[in-house]
Symmetry: C2
Subunit: 200 residues, 2 copies
């Protein structure tokens, strides 16, 4: 079409962010140009600030301040040192934290095994996980991964590797979402819920 180079460049840079397709990126870019005096300096300042003051925790992978590494969650003495929750990324850590029910430590893999995207074992933080399990003496590793094919493959691989280290490996329950019903669940979810049924 009649896109200018600079506009296309901005759309592409925005389109690299997760969950942003071409149409969303275009809408965002047009708004940024329309209100460039206000929105652009604000966003640039926030980006520069974030780059200068935030990083991923060298231990668990969570987002932390550069002057606070290892992060708050890794250093909090009140947390349980016997359980490690393995997640795909930092956003999953904040989701688990929001439940308020988990008080152990975390380890973010920073991805999952994904042959389609040329991501193998060496591209996710598996080696660091094995080292931590060896050195920190966890009693249980909870695999809190998503429930798609690639995450399931990653979980199977981790179970094989971790079970050799004589540690208990668990995964999240699969079942019917709270507040939902049988009619809204697909049959895979429902059969997993039946398999995983509990005493009451």
């Amino acid at each position: 079409m009649f896109l200018m180079d600079s506009l296309e460049r901005l759309i592409k840079a925005l389109g690299r962010l997760p969950g942003i397709g071409w149409r969303s990126a275009e809408r965002m870019a047009l708004r940024l140009v329309m209100e460039s005096e206000k929105l652009v300096p604000e966003l640039i300042a926030a980006l520069e600030d974030a780059r200068a003051s935030l990083r991923c925790c060298s231990k668990c992978g969570n987002i932390t301040r550069v002057d606070k590494d290892p992060c708050r969650l890794c250093t909090d003495p009140s947390r349980d040192d016997s359980v490690l929750c393995v997640v795909e990324g930092p956003s999953d850590i904040s989701l688990v934290e929001r439940t308020g029910g988990y008080r152990g430590r975390y380890h973010a893999l920073m991805g999952k095994i994904s042959p389609m995207n040329q991501k193998g074992i060496e591209d996710i933080r598996v080696e660091a996980l094995i080292r931590r399990v060896r050195e920190e003496g966890f009693k249980e590793i909870i695999l809190a991964l998503n429930s798609d094919v690639e995450s399931d493959a990653t979980a199977s691989y981790l179970r094989d590797v971790l079970s050799r280290l004589k540690v208990r490996v668990t995964r999240l329950a699969l079942g019917i979402p709270a507040g939902s019903g049988l009619a809204y669940s697909d049959s895979v979810t429902l059969s997993r819920a039946i398999e995983g049924r509990t005493e009451m």
Copy 2:
């Protein structure tokens, strides 16, 4: 929660863009921090480039290069000077252009009347529209606005104002989307499609 100031600032700056809620902004911000060495400089460079080299056309409101104002669509001598298509924003111009069927001129209002968001007549480009209609001698004004309450109110207001200028005012047909059927249309759409039925 345990959000750091810099992270919250970035999430808020991203959340000001259209179509981006808190959860999407958070995902984008976390990815930006996780891959800050690569993504942040790229995005900042694209933003600075866009701010320096793009602006809104002083005539129609479309995005254009700073050294090309009025824009390509306003100055193209092969386009029809008798028809003006009034849209809400620059992204609508590119949508109409993609149809390939319209060869007239454009005027973007840069918004719509919206009492909820404190947007009145003086906040959208109505005065510039009236001046253009007076000076440029259009024979027909097509109101290509959306089909929600605020856009409808804006269209009604424009029809009243423009009809005093002795110019033909039309609006887009309301009807069943191409490739769709009656079963997928809500009853308002269907009744508008019946009202607007055409000979065949």
